[in-house]
């Protein structure tokens, strides 16, 4: 059993390998009546697409998505939506060297140990190419959310690359789309460009931290105890290639706070409860508070580097390897739209769950309660 699906009601199954004929996402549970076409999805895929600037892999993929099922005359019908992306730029010859050697930091060795067979071309199923399918499914989720709750906005951006963090005081939502790093701080953007250029030229790589925020999500979305909103977000983000840590709100730093500092105090605003702060990251007991939902995740440095590393062969001999191929010096950059896609899928899933669950019973805070 492989487990290539996620989501409770909006259920996404991705399929496909880096160098097979195609990859895609089978989306079951998409509500009917939502306008959707390939162009709407292409917008998000283009954001993730490789080869757009010198900071991402030079593999040239059109990443053109086709909708093979689940819509009729441009509207979803409630049946499974099949999103297919054909692989076009597969230079399989580049990968001959890794046929019998395992690249350190890659899944080559564990896939072999688990399955006894692996598609070594570009990492096969373990390639970050799989995230193209996530982005397509996330694009669909965004359109459904827009139809159900147009006030919801989902935005991802980088907050750290290597040792360099953004200046939170310089945070500017509009800056995010203006630079190749999706960083909300113009100063950081230019500083990081130099830093990454150096790394790229030396054939090295570096890790990053991405933050994804969902604004406008109503209070009451989530499902305790094991399908908590934060639990599902942690799983969603940790399932992305190369992710090693996930934080909600205060995250790991919550360990350093006292109860007084951590408590987000509540007072009554014109439209309901308002909070003095958001250490909780918009989630209490696994359920949304109505504040911004804030998730961060750390991406490790690309394991494919031009420095020689020790490894072993399939037949158990010590060896060395340099991974040439076409790779990203900071995969964190392309992880931004992937994180957004996962956030969109989780938020939509819980919006649908909430409908199935509570009906009209939702608690309103106010004089009528």
């Amino acid at each position: 059993m492989s487990i290539n699906s996620f989501g409770h009601l909006f259920r996404v199954t991705t399929w496909g390998e880096s160098h097979g004929p195609a990859l895609g996402a089978t989306v079951d549970g998409c509500p009917p009546g939502v306008k959707i076409d390939a162009e709407m999805l292409q917008h998000w895929l283009d954001k993730r697409k490789p080869g757009q600037n010198k900071y991402t892999t030079q593999r040239r993929e059109a990443d053109a998505v086709k909708i093979l099922s689940g819509t009729f005359e441009g509207v979803t019908t409630g049946t499974p939506v099949q999103l297919m992306i054909e692989n076009t730029d597969q230079r399989s010859k580049d990968y001959g060297d890794i046929k019998d050697k395992f690249r350190p930091g890659h899944a080559d060795i564990t896939y072999f140990q688990k399955y006894g067979i692996r598609d070594y071309r570009g990492g096969g199923r373990s390639s970050a190419r799989e995230t193209a399918a996530r982005v397509a499914a996330g694009g669909l989720a965004r359109e459904v959310i827009r139809a159900m709750a147009p006030e919801v906005e989902i935005t991802g951006y980088m907050v750290q690359m290597g040792p360099h963090k953004i200046d939170r005081d310089a945070f500017d939502w509009d800056e995010i789309a203006r630079n190749p790093f999706w960083v909300p701080d113009a100063g950081a953007a230019s500083e990081w460009a130099d830093y990454l250029d150096g790394l790229r030229k030396s054939g090295s790589s570096v890790g990053a931290i991405i933050e994804v925020v969902a604004r406008g999500v109503p209070a009451g979305i989530g499902a305790p105890v094991y399908g908590k909103l934060d639990t599902d977000l942690a799983a969603a983000m940790m399932s992305i290639n190369a992710v090693k840590g996930v934080e909600i709100g205060e995250g790991m730093s919550a360990a350093m706070l006292t109860g007084e500092l951590n408590a987000d105090e509540i007072s009554m605003g014109p439209e309901g409860p308002v909070y003095s702060s958001n250490h909780a990251g918009g989630i209490l007991g696994g359920i949304s508070t109505g504040q911004d939902i804030v998730v961060r995740f750390a991406v490790k440095p690309t394991s494919s580097i031009l420095t020689t590393r020790k490894t072993v062969t399939k037949t158990g001999e010590d060896s060395e390897i340099i991974t040439k191929g076409r790779h990203d010096p900071c995969v964190g950059i392309r992880a931004v739209p992937v994180g957004e896609a996962m956030m969109a899928c989780v938020i939509l899933d819980h919006m649908l769950l909430h409908r199935g669950q509570v009906g009209q019973n939702r608690g309103q805070i106010g004089p009528q309660a």
Copy 2:
């Protein structure tokens, strides 16, 4: 729909509230033929049990677990195992004040907003008392693991309390059980005792970081792409009350590394591949490498503190609240056995999945490959 189950094949559903007659875990998918009795489980529950020292809540619960089904003459039969813990020390009168007010940092407000009704006594379902059921299920998982793979050892401990971190150079496995904080560093243990005593007396609280390690897990366990070992561990830990962050191996710090520093180099040892380091935390591509599996999670400070905090009432009026009750100054302490339990459930689940999946096909690295 609430989602109170976790696990793929070893499937645990917890049920029960803080102040109801009982709580427990319904465990489906427990393999047959494993010796189990209530005492074996009690061992782990006693580790989590409140009221054992001055650093944990003074609620006095026997936390006595009963096995209601799934065993015959002390051996599991493959049918569902029902583990029940009766609530005995329920001082419901303590909680009258919070009937109409929402405690900041607690799930009171979101449960009300979601469900329109909540059992306010002790937090009801959102109480950390639910974790007693997890520990019972985790105890069962440990016994099954012991029967299947006796070399596996799962151990949790605290590595940080508030600003205080352990000294990794002073790490001592044997020290863990000798102090009330499950800290593997004798120096830290005595330092933390003073620190926590102060917090306790002032009615404050503090967060913590717990690390859980599974040693002896064979390579090849895990299930890409959305049921990765690290994904399931992230979900398992994030589902624990008050957890705000989860890390695997290098965790959030992976962002700061370069590819050269992060790569765990591989060479051939007498029994298979060995690694020069373990930045990966024992998991590559969602599958175990055979190294130690290392997970950390951050627990926020207990929200119940003796300082007055601003809040609102059910009818929408601004108000204030002090949470008296009987609470833990650092819930992180009791989260240690809970983290171990979740690790045990996830590891067992993937051991069972691996059997269902790969049969004899597993890849051996060596001359025969």
Copy 3:
């Protein structure tokens, strides 16, 4: 992996053995805000309870159900509802003979072959006692349905016992509760009493067919392609002990019809489409039409009979067996409330799914369309 759960959103996990301390149902996904107490559930359990007349097993069980979680002040809270029934009349000594022999027609032999261990007392987990938990969960489902759609009525009755069928022209809904067979035909009731008396005295047993009808279910409930309403009903009924066949509407006889005879013609009534007939059993393409939903299932004769049958022992020797114990000459009788319970769970589950799924998009047939 045992699979002791059913339902998509209203998810029922039963647990417990015939002669263990207790059995029950863990119900996850019960909507909040529904009034429920143990008495409401007891009503349905009493209908299934053994020992009520000479036609059912003389085992004396109070079958008293306790609600251990999921309600607060008599109202569901949206958290898991634990329903427990303690076993009180366990004459384990009756079962010594079957410790090492397998009763023909029972699950004794297959449980042993599968698990290598079995609780032989009363069939253990494979006992029809498990259905008490289903009836408790079904009672809960009925109350939720009543709160959501009071017009829905679910009624089961016997339509055949051995070679004796009811006279459809004499069908009388009110008669069902008046006789011990739940048969809607007074003539059949008295005829069957004599027939079954004879069988009982001779230590024999006989099969039966039960029909369960859900009236008032709105059109549009169901979930193609593999969670069709009829698919889920077929699974629900086939999962009941001793069931060997399930039919929807015309059932197996549909094979004998031509397309002209089978088509239920449609015309427009004052409140929507009406049908000339109901060969479809109220379901087209897995989705409800608004007509009565009609399911039938066949129960095989009780395998425990007083005639000697050939069998083998655990150690592989040929042997013979008479099953004494306290058994039902026609288990079909007690299967009536069980079938109703399964219908209630499936209908509720799909009502909840429908909410999660379609929102306001449902198609109304009429001038506005």
Copy 4:
């Protein structure tokens, strides 16, 4: 939420509409190391393919299956297998008439009522064309079964068409492939040809009963209580278009038997227990006995007939309809390979579950027990 997946470990999700660009099956959980290519699957698709003789729809579809993922150099890798079949002969113009009218006996009306939108071309998702994807997935399941347990054989055939039943005494396995009805009785084959010819010419249709047998399945496969082998088979068969009844072994006729007649007596054979008869259909308590597993299902007559039927329009007006198109006079014929495919998927799924579950604990009957 639509539910377009089935299976526990061998998980099949079908997608696609009758007249969309393509349809297919996403298969997750396929074990690695199994040789597979498109030709192997094509063999089974050709068996179901329309237009092969005058008794099936004259739609001309190549039904050519492509494997888009999950294999490497012709061997499964354990990752999701995507099986795609492009639609080539879509005469959408044939379906203009049904755009605003609902065909009686079809899912047109209920899909509209559920979703508020439907792809009316050829029934869209509710078309029997969806079963092509099942047959492709079933072909894959057969190859995996062959690799795991070559002694298993799965064969389907018709046992009844309209009022005509086969003569069980004339049963001949070899005859099945020799006639267009997959009927194991040469006499019936020629009789049915005349009968169906008459129906076809008159534009009528008729129902059928199909039997599917799995031989060589070892004892101990199955998963009580809600994932019983018979439960999963009932669901699998009932999910096929037009199926109205499912029977295991004795089926509905079990109602007419006494306990003496129904019990399959057991004695010891050279390789384990043998049974005097197979009323149980090879399943006791949801677990296989080692005998033939016998399932039957009834298919209703094709609802598309040339006789005028009353119906309503989308806007609620009474109307009439004749369904011209290209249809099967007896869809039961093409249901034979579909039933086989579902049997293959269920058997494989439970073989995989059994591995994950019981390990070495399986009970052997004999002196060592």
